[in-house]
Every structure is written in structure tokens, then in C-alpha cells.
Symmetry: C2
Subunit: 291 residues, 2 copies
């Protein structure tokens, strides 16, 4: 991720490091029982990762005039949710992935039951942290984004679409729920916690939906064109599982065009938004990323 | 469960039926995609069950002077949490149970990945509903009760204790976390939502901890002495898995004595509590139950 972009308040690297400091404080120490569970939670959370969702929440918070440090806890909670979803998606009964972020997946490194329960524990801890914000809207927003109309619904549709022909509308629907919903919620909760007006929250949400969809399309493309070294996970896994992806449905070139178009649309959503620079840079990063 | 006990505001059967009406409204319909996921969620939630946690929350709410119907949603959320935990506990990588409440367990009826995701979806939906109460303390209370210091921590310790010698203190610690924590939280959230004074919330919590521990000890005893017809699940499963149970550590008779003592202590906690009748009846039910 580029480290020196635009907005002075929240350059990416500084945000990532700060989120990690908060996550280290929020996660129970490995020395505390049940030690293996806590070690498993930390293994997955600190295995790397772009911290995109926290970066979006923090950027949105400060762009909307938020002050203070409390946003970093809520932002960290989003990463816990994302990590839990990856742990469960990687399970043998789902994508059966052996590598994630260059390391063995949690069920390979520990065991399957620890992977199920570490995911559950991160899920619960995330809501404990979000509730600490004192704003129940944040809990509502995230829980809806990851429920059956959002992330989990998308994951079911994703598994169900394996091995059969899908339409572009169908794969778009899967990606919107599986990935874009939580990314959109991340941007919204930053704005909500900064007490932004409804109109601004909605404007950022519109940007987020397009950014999130583009993010997943780039993910699909990287699964075709990337390499294990850079990605840290098995390349070609989508193709092996006959997943519903943009490249499968419309080919790599057309997928790139669609992603680029979504990024342009995302940026257009913020034409009259004063603090847009960080979001424009994030959009450029999303389309250009190699991991 | 006895149907005609004491307190006019919340006899058990009426509460159970009302909670189920709310759950039916809160759970997405099976006709809505992803249909299989929604069907799976409903299959597990409506497979029966005593609705003990909702009954406790509702009883506590009205005993503390709460008014209106909103408690039934939060109470239903507790049942969703409980159901999610049973679904994940039954998975092949954990207790590997084939029957629950007289029906095939969810992963047997549907599939393993649907069971993981239906559990996750119920978990998220529960927090969505709890957030609707507008009181972030409720979300905090439940998330802590089911986290690594509570239910999930207890489940890990439970699996880790299989097949080896355990002390009484150890099995008590497992049961307190695995079962009593959420039961205690259920009583507390009723009181919190009714704006009970801290002293009352604490008093009910003290009752709940003892009731919850007694409940799990009776569960252990029923696994030895009960029958499949009445219990709706495989008898002797604890012994097969060499689980840490009270009967294993101190024998059935001593387990019964400990449970009875806890029930007496639970009742004693409420000596000066004006609306105690329902809770005394609940305590009597817990110790006498056959399923």
C-alpha cells in the first residue's frame, strides 16, 4: 500500500500501525487461558493483511471532522470481523484453503475446532468493542452488513455457485454481499461516529459500494494473474473450485474495464466532498494493487 | 416445563409462545434468498428447546418493573445465540453429534458448510436485534458472556479436557463459562432493560450464576440417567467423548447434592427480592427437569 498519500491525518501506514497497536491491546494475551484459543486469534489477526476496512473507517471519521482516538478501536473491530470471515471461509467444508497471507491457514496451523471457535470468538469480541463506542447504530450497521443479506449471504451464494454457469448479475450480487457490504459499512461507521449528516453518510456509502465491488473484482483478477509470492495465497484457487468470478464470466480484460469504471464512478460520488483526497488515493490504490 | 407456575405476568408457556412469535418475525423467511441458509437457521431455532434464556430475560424484565413488548425481541436474540452455539458445538470437528432435540443435527440435515454459516448468521442477527434495543450495555453484556472468558472459552476448555483426568474446580470452571455465563447475562439484560438499580442487577446475577451452574450439572446427570425419547439427543455422549462432567469427577449422587445446594443458594440470593416467586419456581424447575 502506498505510504505517503495525501491526507495528513491518516496516511495509510500510520493508520495501519495504530490500528495494530489497538488490536494488540484489545485481543486477550496468549498467556491468559484458554491460551491456545487466544494464540489462534492472534495468529490470524497478525498474519498480515492490508487493514483496508480499518483504514476506510479511520479515513472517513477524520474526513467527517471526528476527533480523538476512539475510532481506532471500532476500526480494529472491523478487522476482527474480516479475519473471522476469512478463518471460516478457509475451512475444509468451505474453500478448503491451506495458505492465507503466506502462512498456513488457521485450521492447518492449529486444528479445525480451534479455527471454528477462534472465528466465533473474534466475531463476539468485535461486537463487544463496537458496543464500547456507546453508539448502537454502529452495531446495527455492522451486523446487517455481515448477515444473511450481506457477507454471510454472499458466502453461501458463492459456495452454491461453484461448478455451474453464472450470469454477470449473479456474480455481481455475490461480490456486493460477500465483500462490498462490509467495506461500505466500514466507511459508514467512521462517518456515523463523527456525527456526519445523513447526506454525507449516504454519499460515502455510495463511494464505498463501488470501491468494495471493484476491490473484489481486482481480487478475482489477481487470482488469475498474480503470483503466490506477492499474494501470499494459492493462485488459481477460484478456478480450481470453479468459483463465480468476473474473469470466469466476462474474461480478464473486460473485468479490468469494469473495475476501472467502478473506480471512476466511486470517485465521481465525491465530486463535491471537501475532504476527498484520501478517498481518491484509496480508489487509485484499489485498482493498482498487486496483493 | 411446568406451565402454570406463579407469576401472572410471565407464565412459562405464554412466554415461550410469545418469544417464538417474535423469533418467527425476526428470522428471515425461507422464501428469501439464500433460501437454504434461511431454512437452516429456522430448522435449528424451531427444533424445540426450552427457551430458558428468553424466559429468564423476560421474567427478570417484568420482575424489575419493565413494561411493553420490546423485551421479547432481545429475549429472542438470546435464543439465537444459544442456537448458534449448539450448531457449532455439534459439528464433526467438535462434539460430532448426530441428534439434537430429537432431530438430526444441522450439519446432518443440511451440510457442514451450511451449519457453520447458519451459526454465524444467527450470531450476527442476534447482535442486530440486541442493538435495536438502543442500549449498548446489552450488546456488551452478551458479547462478553459468549467470548473467550465466557461461552467460547468454556467450549475450548471442554474439548481440551476430553479424555483426561480433571479436578472438580476445573469442571466447575468449564461449566461456569460454557453455560452459566450466558444464563447469567440473560437475567441481567432483562434487569438492565428495565432500568433496575445496580444492586438489583447484581443480586439477580448472583442468582443466575448458581442457577446456570446447577442447570449444567443437571444436564450432565441427564446424560447418564436420561433416555433418548425424553432428551431428544444421544444419551451417554459425554461418557463416549470422555467429557469433563460432574458425574465423572464426583459421581451421580454427589452431583445431585451439589446441584441441590446451588439451587438453595440461588434462592437465598433473592430473600429480600419482592418479585422472587417466578425465580424460585424456575429454580425448582431446573433441578427437577427431565429434559
Amino acid at each position: 500500500m502506498p505510504e505517503t498519500l495525501g491526507h495528513g491525518v491518516s496516511p495509510f501506514k500510520a493508520v495501519r500501525e495504530k490500528v495494530d497497536v489497538h488490536l494488540d491491546r484489545l485481543l486477550p494475551p496468549e498467556s491468559l487461558p484458554p491460551e491456545e484459543l487466544h494464540a489462534a486469534m492472534r495468529y490470524s489477526v497478525f498474519a498480515g493483511g492490508k487493514r483496508l476496512r480499518p483504514v476506510l473507517a479511520v479515513s472517513s471519521y477524520f474526513a467527517c471532522g471526528g476527533v480523538g482516538e476512539s475510532i481506532y478501536d471500532s476500526a480494529g473491530a472491523l478487522e476482527l470481523i474480516h479475519t473471522y470471515s476469512l478463518i471460516h471461509d478457509d475451512l475444509p467444508c468451505m474453500d478448503d484453503d491451506d495458505f492465507r497471507r503466506g502462512q498456513p491457514t488457521l485450521h492447518k496451523k492449529f486444528s479445525e475446532y480451534i479455527a471454528v471457535l477462534a472465528g466465533d470468538a473474534l466475531h463476539a469480541l468485535a461486537f463487544e468493542i463496537l458496543a464500547e463506542s456507546g453508539d448502537p447504530r454502529i452495531v446495527s450497521e455492522v451486523s446487517r452488513a455481515i448477515g444473511t443479506e450481506g457477507m454471510i449471504g454472499g458466502q453461501v451464494a458463492d459456495v452454491q455457485a461453484e461448478g455451474r454457469a453464472v450470469t454477470l448479475a449473479e456474480v455481481e450480487g455475490i461480490h456486493r454481499r460477500k465483500t462490498a457490504a462490509l467495506i461500505t459499512a466500514s466507511i459508514k461507521i467512521g462517518a456515523l461516529l463523527a456525527h456526519a449528516p445523513d447526506k454525507v453518510v449516504e454519499q460515502l456509502a455510495q463511494y464505498g459500494e463501488r470501491l468494495g465491488l471493484a476491490f473484489q473484482i481486482v481480487d478475482d483478477i489477481l487470482d488469475v494473474e498474480g503470483d503466490f509470492e506477492t499474494l501470499g495465497k494459492t493462485v488459481g484457487a477460484d478456478s480450481r473450485l470453479e468459483k463465480a468470478t468476473y474473469p470466469k464470466v466476462v474474461g480478464v480484460e473486460k473485468s479490468k474495464q469494469i473495475a476501472a469504471q467502478l473506480i471512476r464512478e466511486a470517485k465521481d460520488m465525491l465530486t463535491d466532498f471537501p475532504e476527498k483526497e484520501i478517498f481518491l488515493n484509496l480508489a487509485d490504490y484499489i485498482i493498482a494493487r498487486e496483493q
